[in-house]
């Protein structure tokens, strides 16, 4: 999974011998469309750190005929860096730049760099909380800053550029340069924020339980179970909306079961049963059947599940399917019970 690789890159940032000076933060402005052979880049902005100071450079294509020179300049600027950081660059900026290099008969320098696209990471971390995960909205919701009046919306950018080509009046381009500059600034800030958050989510000033469960899932995927457990516990303590609460009970329980703490899992399932959760009943039935060897108890929980199923608002075909499963389980448990009874009384 490419995402995991970039997550590793990010989490291990402070542990590896990569330094912050190996990263370059890049954003482009283009002639319009989302890609394709006829779309070109006319402005590239770079942010980078050198000697503990932050720098921002922009290069501009003042005439489409000068594209080879523009790309050569771009290549030179990129040479010192090992890691490229973008927002949505995997599907937008990078392929577009690669196209331009190919169309001008060059090898693309991007192919030799690591590429961290913060969009995929952002999606995972704020999956439960933010529907709009555009960079602009993240600035507002997460980084708490806004843009000045000079800001022009992204969709106007191509129009302004073509007007400049026609009139050679560069004044309206100011807004475009500003837009690009702020994009890079918030990209860099977001990067630092994410690095902090993932390193120690509970250290945040006002930890959001919805974010914590999202990060817990990331930790789980990375195999950091104790980290995940800590976050699940913290989020249940802070409190969660009903839907996420149930979801978290199940996730947390299944993590416990996988790590052999079946009793801890049981406590969570029992909590879920308070909400008439059918799957929780089934898990408990399994627990009694396999761990406690108590078919009687297992049967009771299966019956309870069947009862809840009748009242549930699920679609008919799913109910049908679940009912069949539960009936099958019940049948099997009865047989098991009978066999056992027969053995006991000869």
């Amino acid at each position: 999974m490419t995402f995991l690789r970039c997550l590793h890159g990010l989490v291990s940032l402070c542990r590896t011998n990569l330094s912050i000076e190996d990263f370059v933060f890049l954003d482009t402005e283009t002639s319009g469309l989302a890609g394709g052979a006829g779309t070109f880049v006319f402005l590239v902005g770079f942010g980078f750190w050198k000697n503990d100071r932050y720098f921002l450079t922009q290069i501009f294509l003042r005439e489409p005929g000068e594209e080879p020179a523009f790309l050569t300049g771009l290549e030179e600027l990129l040479t010192p860096y090992k890691v490229l950081v973008t927002y949505n660059g995997k599907s937008f900026d990078a392929p577009l730049l690669n196209n331009r290099f190919i169309l001008n008969g060059f090898q693309s320098p991007l192919k030799n760099m690591h590429h961290i696209d913060l969009l995929s990471l952002t999606r995972r971390v704020w999956r439960n909380r933010l529907d709009d995960r555009s960079l602009g909205n993240l600035e507002h919701e997460i980084l708490n800053f806004g843009r000045a009046e000079e800001e022009i919306p992204g969709w106007m950018v191509p129009q302004i550029y073509f007007e400049f080509l026609q009139t050679q009046n560069a004044t309206p381009l100011k807004g475009v340069f500003y837009h690009n500059e702020v994009d890079i600034l918030s990209l860099s800030a977001l990067f630092l924020h994410l690095a902090d958050l993932l390193r120690n989510p509970l250290a945040a000033r006002n930890p959001q339980s919805l974010d914590l469960i999202a990060i817990a899932r990331l930790y789980e995927e990375l195999g950091d179970y104790s980290g995940a457990i800590q976050l699940y516990e913290a989020s249940l303590e802070i409190g969660l909306p009903a839907h996420f609460f149930i979801q978290t009970l199940y996730r947390f329980a299944s993590l416990h079961r996988r790590t052999g703490k079946i009793e801890a899992a049981l406590t969570l399932w029992l909590k879920a049963v308070e909400y008439h959760e059918i799957d929780a009943c089934i898990e408990i039935a399994k627990f009694y059947e396999h761990h406690q060897k108590s078919c009687h108890q297992a049967l009771e929980w299966t019956e309870l599940a069947l009862g809840y199923l009748e009242q549930s608002p699920l679609p008919r075909y799913i109910k049908k399917q679940k009912r069949a499963e539960l009936e099958h389980r019940k049948e099997r448990l009865y047989q098991k019970l009978n066999r056992r009874n027969n053995q006991v009384t000869p």
Binding site: G36, P64, P95, L103, P315
Partner: protein, 843 residues
Amino acid sequence: MPTKNFEQIKNIVRFWQTDPSVSPNICGVHVTPPNPGQFVPLPENLHSTFRNTLAAEGIEALYQHQWDAIQIITQCKNAIITTGTASGKSLCYQIPIIDNCLKDEESTAMLLFPTKALTQDQYRNFLRFSPPSLHSSISIYDGDTPVSQRKKIRQSARILLSNPDMLHTAILPHHPNWEKLLRGLRYFVLDEVHLYRGVFGSHIANLIRRLKRICRFYSTEPVFILTSATVANAREHAENMIEEPFEQISDSHSPKGTKYFLLYNPPIIHEELGVRRSALSEAVRIGGDLIVNGIQTLIFTHTRKNVELGIKFLQSQNPEQTQEIFAYRSGYLPSERRKIEEALKFGKAKAVVSTNALELGVDIGGMEAVIISGYPGSIAATHQQAGRAGRKKQDSLAVLVASSNPLDQYIIKHPEYLFEKPPEVALINPNNPLILYQHIRCAVFELPFRQNDSFGNLDWTAIHPYLKVLVLNREVFPTSDRFIWRGDQYPSQDVSLRSTSGDSFLLHVEEDDRLTTIGEVDQASVDWMVHPNAIYLHQGQTFFVEALELEKKYVRLTPFDGDYYTQPLMEQNIQIISEERIRSIFGGKIHFGEIEVTRQLKGFRKISWQTREILATEDLELPPRTLRTVGYWIEMNPQSIQLLTNLNLWSGKPNNYGPNWDQQRKLARQRDQFTCQLCGAAEKDIPHHVHHIVPFRQFPTYELANRLENLITLCPACHHKAESVVRIRSGLSGLRYLISQIAPLFVLCDPGDLGSHSDPQSPMCEGNPIVMIYDNSAAGIGLSETLFDKHELILASALEVAQDCSCLDGCPSCVGVGGENGTAGKVETLAILKILNGMPLRV
């Protein structure tokens, strides 16, 4: 597969020739003698691994024509292959492509197929014939390719199977993503190019111009390999499309058994009216004889509805074999179609009823017998469908069952039309300004234009004006040395190669709160196939249409076990929106302008499965479908009509049945006890029709025509049948037929690209007679305006065609045909043409 009695086909033909219920209906037997075939060993220099793979698949020799084709292709010459169905056309390009990919690691190939089904079929063949080392480089790239696999395919495919629409919207506009494939492009295959004619073909020709332009950028010059079904001008068609010289491979040397081609005319079931049994029921009846004898049979029919009716009849006729009888048509899910193709190939299907969806080259193995229910409308399609019969050296059978349609009746009585005339020509016009404009627009996006660039065989002076228009439209920007794209849309997105656009509607069947998708219906057919309360048929099962969700584009069905099916009632209307040009001609005026064609579903009929009678007619309120387009129309002036009427050469006026008609009609219905005298259906809420046995026009007075002895009560459906037998065509409709036949030659389009209309008393022209030809696509692409400009040429040539045609009273090549017992009105058409050409009328 079970070995077959070699004599079986011959026996059944003999049996029919002596069977009293069949033999009188056989109007002709055309026998093609067997051909032992001509074999040559595989080319010497094939890659050794490849040779082994071929041997493992049982290919150790080639037919002579395959060998010839491979020689031409490997000498880097373009080839068009037109050998018939089952002649191994695909191997002609598969061998050089695979061999080349094995010998040269950089070399690649792209193949475009017209349908997804064909692409899948070819993909399996490529895997079969190529060594495993090559398998990961062979890929399909079409609308169904999962997004997650696309990137890998773009980077690694060396043999890419796709379709024209993908090349147009996904590959060319994003060609840098395909750098590897394009840099190595050695072979380019375009399959079934006979489909690419008219407007569609002109689009494809421009798509090829765009492709070649991109290939030049990557320094490649692929060899083009085209395949085609029979058309009269295959090589010329290929050269027009690719703009390069071609060699044609047309002689097939694959072995064949004897082929029997029977012409079958259904028996007359009502002597007085001359009405014949329906083609479909006769096709099912003789199909039954074949199925009983274990002969695998494919029945072709025109419409999707007929496919479903056919399978129902066939299944109820052969109840023990229901599981081995299938229907096949567009609208089924790909998986279901695939299942039927397999069942055919491996002999599990004994009979399949299909539309022309199976006419194309999907590999279903050879059929033992093919029944064509109703003339498919062209010589080429007839041969293509009949060509599905023939399995290696076994004898095979094809039967054309005529419908009561006048054209069918003509063909069945003039078999030479089918067997001696060349098939239809394929015409394209890549330089049609509107089509060219759209593709230059797409081409700018793909690579900027620079001064003195060319586009296909057009030089800078020809394309520069188009670029200037694009600059004015602010879609293209001229820099100091080039024209670049500046629009905020992908130009290929609003250029549809095919005239049939729009998404299809999914068909959901509802059971237990859950929807299962059973198929789809294309946008154009939604109204009449799945209107609310319609009965929809699928593999012989019936469903009731609960809801047609026009916005969400789906149809909700529930299983249905009622005893009727439905028939839509459509209405078409043409209106002039604005008249742009008008000019006086001999005998009238010609016009050019914007028109609107409105089609609306007014209601539907419920028809009983058992008796075929109309149980009820219901109204519907659905939004009309409109086509805004352009048209050219000829208006005749009253003086011309007066002249024709005086000479008794004008039958355009509608019949006035005289003052006693209402009374006679009531008497006739009473006499016939309000029952259809053909099918026996009783009259329900709407009165039955009353029909003149001998047409009204053939009597000197209305009293004679309206005598009760000459009247008969018929239900609307039976009346339609009876009318087609005695149809007397007016000179005006003959003119419309003739002009729509020859107009494509003047604008290089396909007959289907034009619509036509005639009206002896048109409200559009103050009640004067008109013949109208219009562009059959939204907004049009300028065909009718060219026709307006070439009016004199067209009319002169129309007169020449009608005069020179040796037929007595009309034929499909001149003014068309009348009913079996009617007339085609050729004399009248000739008279009209003389007036419009400014020639004196001599009688």
